[in-house]
Amino acid sequence: MRKPSRRDFLKIMGATGAALLAGRAGAEASEEHHVNNETIGMLYDATKCVGCKACMSACKRVNSDYGSLSYEQAKFDSDGLWDAPEDLSGSTRTLIKLFKESDKQWSYVKYSCMHCQKPSCVSVCPVSAMTRDKMTGTVDYNKDACIGCRYCQVACAFNIPKFQWEKAIPQIVKCDLCKNTNLLKKGITACAEVCPVGAIMFGKRKDLLEEANKRLSENPGKYLNHIYGEKEVGGTNHLYLSAMQFNKLGLPVLANEAPAEFSEKIQHTIYKGFIAPVALYGTLCFVALKNMKGHGTDDKHSEKEEKGESDHGA
């Protein structure tokens, strides 16, 4: 028996690993991501919000059929009088929460999809069920394509996509900026439309940013000097202003690089033009065929080979 030597080892590692590593150098080539401020989104001002939850009920009223939303019953409410979601869920696209640190320090916060400029959910969905509209920047979900793998849930840094765990025919639920409902009919999202105090502003990202900056400069000391979503994960179209630390409101502290940029860079490097896998296959075929040949001539089975029966077994 031939001793497996270090050279052998390097040979195989070379064949399998080199293809992966070689491409890594070309990583820079992947397309740069640019923020498009002409796309639409919303600005939520936590200092204006009065916690009336009109947005929540409007969202459910408008989107319940199209978005497969339903009312959630609280434990104490046996008659089902209220819609009482505890969190975003397979029945609820948006939610208002109250964070109370002390009697003086509290804030409402509204959760819904951030409509990222470089959305992780779109990057990972294997069947393009999550898509981002280039013109509007809206991240939409198509249940007719979705296989329900829940990779979008794993990927989203904001834990936005929700799955209908209790249904035999489940789907992903998340805000689509009322793309097919209120926005289509009235040109504005339902939550922004009904807000009685103007805490939700709907518009182009550039206008939202301008307005946010105006509020920051006109009210020194009122807000944290930070527009959440301006830079986070490569920019989002849902922006936040608040007086309270964003991470206390359940909005995570995030880097400015989009996670999808990082993962796609590596994935593209390995699979660029499918060259590495093809090269790997070619090399391996070459080596294997050579080995088979060498084996056939000096072996007790050579007789069979001569008969023209190439014999590899399995």
Binding site: E264, I266, Q267, S310
Partner: protein, 429 residues
């Protein structure tokens, strides 16, 4: 090297083990039925925070690594040119086939909308940025490749078979129904035999290209199984979240593959009362430490580079799991560096167990233990969820046990005994 280097294992199929495995399988499949009727939430503890539970972590991410025996053996035999391992490959491929087939099956149980899976074959829906797209296509292709690689075993049997059991069964059926058995059936069966005889040499000719495909595909999707978690940069603990995930997963599946090949051989020799294949195993075991050393070096180098060594040694929850994984792999490899220990079945077995456990724990760490979606989320699999996984594994073992008894899968004893005359006795000791 011909098809005659394999043989069936002559033994009864209906053993007590068979009954136990069958029961577990049936329980598992009954629970799967519940999952399809009442939804995933009815049987699992998965949540919107932990959308991937034990099914993805064990059945898919870990199960396919454990099913990498066929991959590892194919590299050893066809690429590194160690043809004398050839008699061992068929059983390795059989286990790989079950491992991958059932991983695919688990995915169909796990995904919420499996009927939409046809979208994987529609180019306009393709999403090359998604590591999962790559994993899905490669796993489907590889399962097909494994079936092709295993086909010769089926064809050989078809060629030679007398259809005794089938004949008996048919006779019984027809006599029950009070009819005479038509002649046509016999003719049809002969036809099948002819086709098998025709197909076999032709398949043999192209088989090497299929086999090499069987080496390329796991290289791709095993690394992509690591890439899957690249995106979760905010959720996966920094001990495990690194750009090297694909490379680490690739090397990881190789050393798991060789270790599993050792375990499989030892266990099946023990269970089927065959002499141990000590010589082949110790030769194979020689490769493992090289792989693990590279793997451990990448792990440490990467942690040092990212300044996470402190976190690794902090002995908090995550650090403990990291150290456990690290020590299992390192400990198992250390044993294998000793030539004397490699010659002993016991030590081989022990080190392979350590390495498989360590390697599998690494995958658990990446997919579950090191995954933290934020405050308030917890996950521990429910009993039903576990029983579905157990049922699938039981089915895997069951299938292996039955197939080695009806198809020529295990190395023919005299062939192997020629190779390592005398070693068998020693191995048994």
């Amino acid at each position: 090297m011909g098809h005659d280097e394999y043989q069936k294992h002559d033994a009864k199929i209906l053993t007590p083990t068979f009954i136990v495995l069958l029961t577990l399988t049936l329980i598992g499949f009954a629970l799967i039925a519940v999952r399809f009727i009442k939804g995933i939430g009815a049987v699992t503890n998965m949540s919107d925070g932990y959308p991937w539970g034990i099914w993805i972590t064990y059945d898919v991410a870990t199960g396919t690594a454990i099913a990498c025996g066929g991959y590892a053996m194919a590299i050893l035999i066809y690429i590194r040119n160690h043809m004398h391992y050839h008699p061992m490959i068929r059983s390795a491929i059989l286990t790989s086939m079950f491992g991958y087939g059932l991983a695919g099956f688990s995915v169909m149980v796990d995904v919420g909308r499996p009927w939409n899976s046809y979208n994987f074959f529609i180019p306009s829906k393709w999403q090359a940025n998604s590591a999962m797209f790559e994993v899905a296509l490669c796993v489907m292709a590889y399962t097909t490749v494994l079936l092709l690689e295993f086909l010769p075993a089926v064809l050989t049997t078809l060629e030679k078979t007398e259809w005794k059991t089938l004949q008996l069964l048919l006779d019984m059926l027809y006599s029950r129904m009070g009819m005479k058995r038509p002649e046509r059936i016999g003719e049809r069966l002969d036809k099948v035999k002819e086709v098998a005889a025709w197909l076999k040499p032709r398949l043999d000719k192209v088989l090497i290209f299929v086999i090499v495909l069987g080496i390329t595909l796991p290289t791709m999707h095993q690394s992509s199984l690591g890439s899957l978690l690249l995106i979760a940069s905010t959720k996966l603990h920094p001990l495990w979240h690194t750009g090297f995930l694909p490379l680490l997963f690739l090397i990881n599946c190789m050393f798991i593959g060789y270790s599993i090949a050792i375990l499989e051989s030892v266990i099946s020799c023990y269970a089927f009362k065959r002499p141990f294949e000590t010589k082949e195993l110790s030769g194979m075991a020689r490769i493992i430490p090289w792989l693990t050393v590279i793997w451990l070096a990448v792990v440490i180098g990467d942690l040092a580079w990212r300044g996470q060594l402190g976190a690794a040694l902090s002995f908090d929850f995550y650090s403990r799991f990291f150290l456990l994984e690290f020590c299992l792999v390192a400990g198992g490899s250390l044993l294998l560096f000793s030539g004397r220990k490699r010659e002993s079945i016991r030590w081989l077995f022990a080190s392979a167990v350590l390495i498989v456990l360590g390697g599998a724990l690494y995958r658990f760490n990446v997919y579950l233990i090191g995954f933290n979606p934020g405050k308030g989320w917890h996950y521990f699999p429910s009993l039903a969820e576990l029983m579905i996984t157990v049922g699938i594994v039981a089915f895997e073992i069951l299938g292996y046990q039955v197939l080695v008894k009806i198809l020529p899968v295990l190395p023919k004893l005299h062939t192997r005994q020629q190779i390592d005359a005398g070693h068998a006795a020693e191995g048994k000791a």
